[in-house]
């Protein structure tokens, strides 16, 4: 469903991605590991169309369509979702208005009528439970005054509302305590279907213990240098990236 070929990208003129090839099929979970600065977050930002990055070479197709030709909101409508490493606080925009605008924009794209207020609030209530997100949080402004763990739970809650087919989790485990990590990971697992896939960016095995990736990639200096099964993540946990650098 997602096919990345020879992807090169720069930010501020500096090349960060130097030829990425990656294919993700429905139902698969791919883990992306690598040291800071290797290009993991750049890859996720490029995929969702962050305007700070420039693609200089390569192609990305998503469900057979040219992903790079789409605006960020079109990519979202097509089913791409990024769980941000640092979710943004938006004072003055309520979670309800934010979610309703997002969901109804997607429905419009799909040719569906907007959800009425009652149906929308009912859906909010149901989906909140998946990540045990408090009612008080969803009545506030987007991410405003949320703790680190609440922000990550809120990302998964938004995922539950929008039902994307392809999720990118960018260090969703960072800053989470053991209980929050379990809630977030179990929430994510509840949303999985044979049609959905994910790319999981992480430094640690503990998130992968829950998510059980099918494929593990190691990214060094803008290239994927090694691809393997779940055992590769365990190997890195024990030995670090040192042996893979050559």
């Amino acid at each position: 469903m997602l096919e990345i070929k020879n992807l090169h990208a720069t930010i501020g003129g500096k090349e960060i991605l130097k030829g990425i090839d990656l294919t993700v099929r429905p139902g698969e979970i791919h883990a992306l590991m690598g040291q800071n600065g290797a290009g993991k977050s750049t890859l996720s930002n490029v995929l969702v169309g962050h305007p700070a990055y420039t693609v200089t070479e390569g192609t990305v197709t998503f469900h057979g369509k040219d992903l790079l030709a789409m605006s960020p909101d079109e990519r979202a409508h097509e089913g791409l979702f990024l769980s941000f490493q640092q979710p943004v606080e938006i004072p003055g925009v309520s979670m309800v208005n934010f979610m309703r605008a997002a969901l109804n924009a997607k429905r419009k794209y799909q040719g569906l009528e907007p959800l009425d207020a009652a149906a929308f609030l009912k859906l909010m209530r149901e989906r909140r439970k998946i990540v045990e997100l408090d009612n008080k949080l969803t009545s506030r402004s987007v991410n405003e005054g949320f703790s680190g763990g609440e922000k990550k739970r809120n990302e998964i809650f938004q995922m539950a509302m929008l039902e994307p087919t392809m999720c990118i989790l960018d260090e969703t485990d960072s800053g989470l305590d053991v209980d929050a990590l379990r809630i977030v990971a179990e929430g994510f697992n509840k949303l999985r279907t044979p049609e959905t896939a994910a790319i999981v960016i992480t430094h640690y095995q503990r998130l992968l213990d829950y998510l059980k990736p099918d494929v593990v990639h190691v990214l060094i200096d803008g290239r994927i240098v090694k691809t393997g099964g779940p055992e590769l993540a365990l190997e890195i946990e024990q030995k670090g990236f040192g042996d893979l650098k050559d």
């Binding site: 938006i90 003055g92 934010f98 605008a101 987007v142």
Partner: protein
């Protein structure tokens, strides 16, 4: 083209007709006002308080002056005794011009201890077939312990050149509470100058809000004197501008007595080629100890062409005070915009939501809840084009 001289000539020519239909209290102040106006002339940009607005240009077109044909009722003793005592014709030319030409005054007089259950709403609808100038006057007198809310709305019902001068005097006597809401929602060809002069006695409270939703040139000058111990003033303002609109808010909060409290928050969303200006001075006089004052002006400038001038000022001549002032000028948060777009919200919609969020901080401070809700809707309408607005259908 009309300059200072032509307005003086106009007054001399029409003086008998103006006086014939105006209350004596108004006529009594005309001579001094005309002399002051003739002496000062329209303020140039070298006059500190008018440096952001070209006043002479706004008064230059040939506006017709509609004179009353029936005599106005005389003022009550209380109103006559106060009329023109706050509005300073000697230092402000626009106030002098208004005082020279105005024919009637709307008086809201609330007796001691009386509490008006419902707000008093005054709606001015501009309608004319030729360019028109109007000079308006409002006097609010809240006696000791009285409580009143006044809503002033300006609307335009004709695509015509209008020029309005309004002078408002507000007397907040000991322990009284006055809320004055000024909502300007007119059109590109409407120019308005509103001078507010308020005085708050011991333990009194004044909330004054200025919302400029639409208009051509809007200039609001608000002077509040906190003259009694523990007097309070809250000034709120929100300006949403686009096209070639110009909004200039100029405020002075004068702390004259101990324990005064003032809060000031003005926010602007300046779009397209429009311009905004805010200049706010907080003066803490000698003896006004334990003054507590916060002044803030925050602005969103949406395009390269839009301009915003901001000038918060603080002058303190007393010890033991708590005062802060500050201003910001910025653009929409790019990371917030991108976050919203990643969730599927279009760029236009994301920008609208962020602008509304910015303005809502001021709206949420409005104590009159029904008005707050109505303004939330009006502000949303203002930000949306007709095509993507579903508010009228609701």
């Amino acid at each position: 083209m009309k300059g200072t001289d032509q307005y003086i000539e106009l007054w001399r020519a029409e003086r008998a007709r103006i006086d014939a239909c105006a209350p004596a209290a108004l006529n009594a102040r005309r001579e001094a006002a005309a002399a002051a106006f003739e002496r000062m002339g329209f303020p140039s940009r070298k006059v500190e308080r008018y440096k952001y607005t070209d006043v002479a240009a706004a008064f230059a077109p040939n506006y017709g002056l509609q004179l009353a044909t029936a005599p106005a009722a005389p003022l009550t003793e209380a109103a006559a005794a106060r009329y023109g005592t706050l509005a300073d014709v000697e230092t402000d030319a626009v106030t002098a011009l208004n005082t020279m030409l105005v024919q009637d005054v709307l008086v809201i007089h609330v007796a001691a201890g009386e509490r008006k259950e419902h707000p008093v709403q005054i709606t001015n609808t501009l309608r004319a077939t030729a360019p028109l100038m109007q000079n308006r006057r409002l006097l609010i007198l809240a006696e000791a312990g009285a409580h009143v809310q006044v809503i002033l709305s300006d609307r335009a019902a004709a695509d015509q050149d209008f020029l309005t001068t309004q002078v408002t005097e507000v007397f907040v006597e000991p322990g009284a509470h006055v809320e004055l809401y000024d909502i300007e929602d007119t059109a590109e060809r409407c120019h308005r100058f509103h001078q507010v002069f308020a005085e708050v006695a011991a333990g009194g409270h004044l909330t004054h809000t200025t919302f400029t939703l639409a208009g051509g040139l809007s200039r609001n000058q608000t002077d509040v004197r906190l003259k009694g111990k523990g007097a309070e003033a809250v000034l709120l303002g929100c300006a949403i501008t686009n096209g070639t609109q110009h909004v200039d808010n100029n405020t002075l909060i004068d702390h004259c007595a101990p324990g005064g409290v003032s809060r000031e928050l003005y926010k602007y969303v300046v779009d397209q080629q429009s311009t905004g200006a805010f200049a706010g001075k907080v003066l803490v006089r000698e003896g006004a100890v334990q003054t507590d004052s916060v002044e803030r002006n925050a602005n969103l400038v949406c395009t390269e062409q839009a301009r915003m001038w901001t000038q918060p000022m603080l002058e303190i001549y007393a010890d033991d005070v708590k005062c802060s002032h500050g201003s910001t000028v910025g653009q929409l948060n790019d990371e917030a915009l991108f976050y919203m777009r990643q969730r599927g919200i279009s760029e236009v919609e994301a920008r609208t939501l962020l602008k509304q969020a910015f303005a809502s901080e001021v709206l949420n401070e409005i104590p009159l809840e029904a008005l707050q809700q109505r303004l939330h809707v009006q502000v949303e309408k203002r930000f949306r084009s007709c095509e993507d607005c579903k508010l009228c259908a609701k």
